[in-house]
Point group: C2
Chain length 347, copies 2
């Protein structure tokens, strides 16, 4: 009987696809330490994410593919994880085109604003920070990665349509000159629903990165939607994120969900630069009395888990809410953003 060769095994494993990345485990350079000895085939699968929820499926698919080869009696699959560098090399080397505008874009740093929980103020923080960075003289952009619930256009009072050509789409410009890209600039009506499943959400985010004429930016902020699913995965895996700002609120419930976002960032090895607490209390404008409407702060707990400092605490301010609703977030000035900028500049 013909002896099984390493080549046979690799060819068999070429049929096994990573269900997340839609590329084979061989193509992804996941197969390591392959040995064949007397009908026993052993190898390690180096996963791109150690806690990958699909790891058992990948291992089982690989086992079955190799077991089917003639002459194989036993298959021993060990699960491992790639180093951060290997992961970036593999995920960076996708077959996707870089995008129409990619060659002309020079983006110094990319910061994602995340929380896991909805309605905690990710977009508010993104908008306030962009405004503060712009005032400090930076060239700033915002990539609104919330495809089904985009807030950025409304906060800045900016509407589409956008101009586009062969070298990509031109982002919208805010009153103070911040470059903005959001799905709502592409919709005929801002209230139109975007009823898309994950792959289309991911595709849109990648286009917002590669097909938009960002030009030269000192900072691009990425406003993430709630959750730890497609949008967050695509941003963390496909964009060169330098770090994450984690937004939370005093609610214990929010705290629990923000912890999930922290765990996700840690699993994918994207550094968390700091924690920002929003909705931290309401000061009555007439009496000056402070009410902890959503309970006492839990920001330090999130910071401890994240291994990053609490950079800012934002109170509830009806005036800010009114300016945001009026599309005038750039008229808001919050000194709390100075600490955030200082932390970014240290990186």
């Amino acid at each position: 009987m013909k002896k099984t060769t390493k080549n046979d095994v690799m060819n068999a494993l070429r049929q096994v696809m990573d269900p997340e990345l839609h590329r084979s485990v061989v193509d992804l350079n996941m197969v390591r330490g392959l040995s064949i000895s007397g009908g026993i085939v052993a190898f390690t699968l180096a996963l791109t994410i150690p806690e990958c929820p699909l790891r058992d499926q990948i291992a089982e698919d690989s086992r079955i593919a190799v077991q089917a080869l003639p002459g194989v009696q036993e298959v021993q699959v060990t699960l491992g994880a790639m180093t951060d560098e290997e992961r970036r090399a593999v995920l960076g080397a996708t077959n996707e085109p870089p995008g129409l505008a990619a060659a002309n874009n020079r983006i110094e740093r990319v910061i994602a604003v995340m929380s896991g929980k909805g309605g905690v103020g990710k977009s508010l923080v993104t908008g306030l920070l962009a405004t503060a960075l712009k005032r400090a003289g930076q060239r700033v952009g915002i990539l609104d990665a919330d495809i089904t619930g985009p807030s950025i256009p409304k906060l800045f009072g900016v509407k589409g349509p956008l101009k586009g050509g062969e070298s990509g789409v031109e982002p919208a410009l805010s009153r103070t000159g911040i470059k903005l890209m959001s799905i709502n600039f592409l919709l005929p009506d801002e209230g139109e629903a975007v009823i898309w499943r994950g792959p289309m959400i991911s595709g849109a985010i990648k286009q917002f990165w590669g097909d938009v004429q960002w030009g030269t930016l000192d900072t691009l902020l990425v406003d993430l939607p709630p959750g730890t699913s497609d949008a967050a995965l695509t941003v963390m895996q496909s964009l060169p994120i330098n770090g994450i700002l984690m937004v939370t609120t005093p609610q214990s419930l929010a705290n629990m969900i923000v912890r999930k976002a922290v765990r996700m960032a840690q699993a994918i090895n994207v550094p968390i630069l700091g924690v920002i607490e929003n909705l931290g209390g309401f000061v009555a404008p007439d009496t000056g009395k402070r009410y902890d409407i959503f309970g006492p702060s839990h920001a330090e707990e999130v910071a401890t888990l994240a291994g990053a400092p609490v950079l800012a605490r934002l109170p509830i301010d009806p005036q800010v809410a009114a300016l945001c609703d009026a599309g005038k977030i750039e008229e808001v000035s919050r000194s709390e953003m100075d600490t955030v900028i200082a932390a970014l500049n240290r990186k």
Copy 2:
């Protein structure tokens, strides 16, 4: 030359898959009014969702598949939409198994709580309504469809693990006897991240429906996550939803995103039963003075678009927030829920 038959065309179209539903357009009964006349093939594709964002792709895939047949000179594809009844018949007749527990479950009505926007209080409304229904003597369950940011376990102060057997998983029971199912009951630590792309999110929701021993329920409430992507699509397409309660807040920004959720429900033909406004103003406990922290109400605008009444307006109540954070939502009594229950009972 052999003449193209209707059979040939149908066989060619059997290769064209609906990218959402992963079943062929023939299997989904989408091909209507097929005619062949002198090398010209014409037919209508009845889509399951009229505004399906992938409609052009389905049409183009179909055109290419038929064009490849020998003897075909031209293919004319018209796009149409299924009736509500047809859609339910087709989507109900999936090849998926009904679930381990489905045969023993008798669920009288299923109500989804939705908003599109995060952090507006969907879970709070779900919890308050379940509590009120239970007090009114109903058998009540909550299916927490927010897989990446589940709030229900914390609001009710309930933890896993759950018991399970060959006939499915037993839901958790709240203090007052509400049956609960949430991803957090299945995690070793409530703060663990669920880093899943859409198909796994959808799979989990379907299992929460079919593999959970709900038994006999008068009302099952489904707490949806933010967004109009996989989770919302799966709930609306795969579960027998009787109607939707739409939650909004006074913020104009929230209003815009909730309008997207309304449009989605309308596109998939799921009736909206009413609108509930949350975070409607803060009454200082010491002075009794009311502050419209998040601006004036926009609930009527959402109601007009939805063609459904505003059923309740919930103020900001620090005491409710504290009870929710302590897992004691069942100790909250809000008379606003009576109107909601009355509206449900009229259906």
